[in-house]
């Protein structure tokens, strides 16, 4: 007679095996998807850049050496942290926002779909703003906390301490 406990341990081992197999079968595609998403985000933010120049993040700031810079970070949203990527035009004096892309979030599906939608009008209106007139953007009805988090993220990005004196290193 086999002990029930050993049966349970066997069941756990079986489940672990199934998970390990699925993980190894999907890992390649998942990593490809994530890398692809990053390249797509950068392209959407600063135009065609394929292949991407070597990544040089300094304190979450990456000077692209064409008058533009990328900033990455996380801001607390409604369901958890929202990871983002922001592109900035390094206009001397008042850096301008070029775009905002979400790289990961746990916001409510449906309500926060605007984060990942292409050409979302609410996200589009942020383009070209600087830290002064960013405050005039109204939050999005129905997604107040999420859209406020986006505005906070963009304000954070534009207030990056090294933005004014970042050097191109290539």
């Amino acid at each position: 007679m086999v002990k029930p406990v050993s049966v349970f341990v066997l069941l756990v081992a079986l489940c672990a095996l199934v998970l390990a197999l699925t993980h190894s079968a999907t890992r390649g595609r998942i990593e490809q998807n994530r890398a692809r998403q990053f390249v797509d985000s950068v392209n959407a933010l600063v135009g065609q850049q394929e292949p991407l120049p070597t990544m040089r993040w300094r304190d979450d700031l990456w000077h692209l050496c064409n008058g533009k810079a990328l900033i990455r970070g996380q801001t607390r949203g409604y369901g958890g942290p929202i990871s983002w990527l922001v592109a900035v035009d390094l206009e001397p004096g008042a850096p301008q926002l070029l775009g905002f892309q979400t790289s990961g979030h746990q916001e409510t599906p449906g309500i926060a779909d605007f984060l990942t939608r292409k050409d979302d009008p609410w996200l589009q209106q942020l383009r070209g703003r600087n830290s002064q007139n960013m405050a005039q953007v109204a939050t999005l009805t129905g997604a107040t906390i999420t859209s406020r988090a986006v505005l906070a993220a963009v304000a954070d990005a534009l207030a990056h301490p090294d933005l004014q004196n970042v050097q191109c290193e290539s």
Binding site: P4, V5, V7, F8, L11, V12, C15, V18, L19, T22, H23, T26, R29, I30, N33, R36, Q37, G79, T102, G104, H105, Q106, T108, P109, G110, I111, D113, T116, T141, G142
Partner: protein
Amino acid sequence: MRILSEPPVSGLFRDGIAARNPAWVQLLGLCPLLAVSTSVVNALALALASGGVLLGANISVSLLRRWIPDFARLPGFVLIIATFTTCAVLLLEAYAFDLYLRIALFVQIIVTNCMILGRVESFASRTSPGRAGADALATAGGFALALLAMGAARELMGRGTLFANMDLLFGPSAATWQLTLPGDPGGLLIALLPPGAFILAGLLLGAGRALTNKGQP
């Protein structure tokens, strides 16, 4: 343990989809139902994921029913369901990445969907794998119907479109499936928000009851 008189498989389907519909009659799995049914594509993806998990869990529990020790029954079932859910999340992330970004949160909580634990515990653990599989398909079909009805109604009312963004699930050729209401209806925001989901679910529930309880007070 054997059930004394086993109903035929066709009865299983009639039960799962209508008489014992998990969402409309048993009111199970309402959290993902209300949260994800903002559009047809989200609803369909969640229906497919829940259905897959239910099918896998039902068949495995049925296969293992003689070996799973009674004292560890529920932990064992939850373990099996969690395994299938994690596999579903990984597959979604690998093969429908854009959709994964939108609904991953609610696919992960399939593991706590009492509809699945209910079918596994009360049916699959007492019957043959074939019947357990048929029951999973029937129950998942009922859940999918409820999800799609909600998704279609909310997308139509909230955004004025139907089948938008189907390319997230079926590849680029499906991008043309979108139907848009003539004119610019704008959309009722409340249909997309949780309160609207509750109101609509209540109306659908009432309509379902009226159809199945014809003639009764």
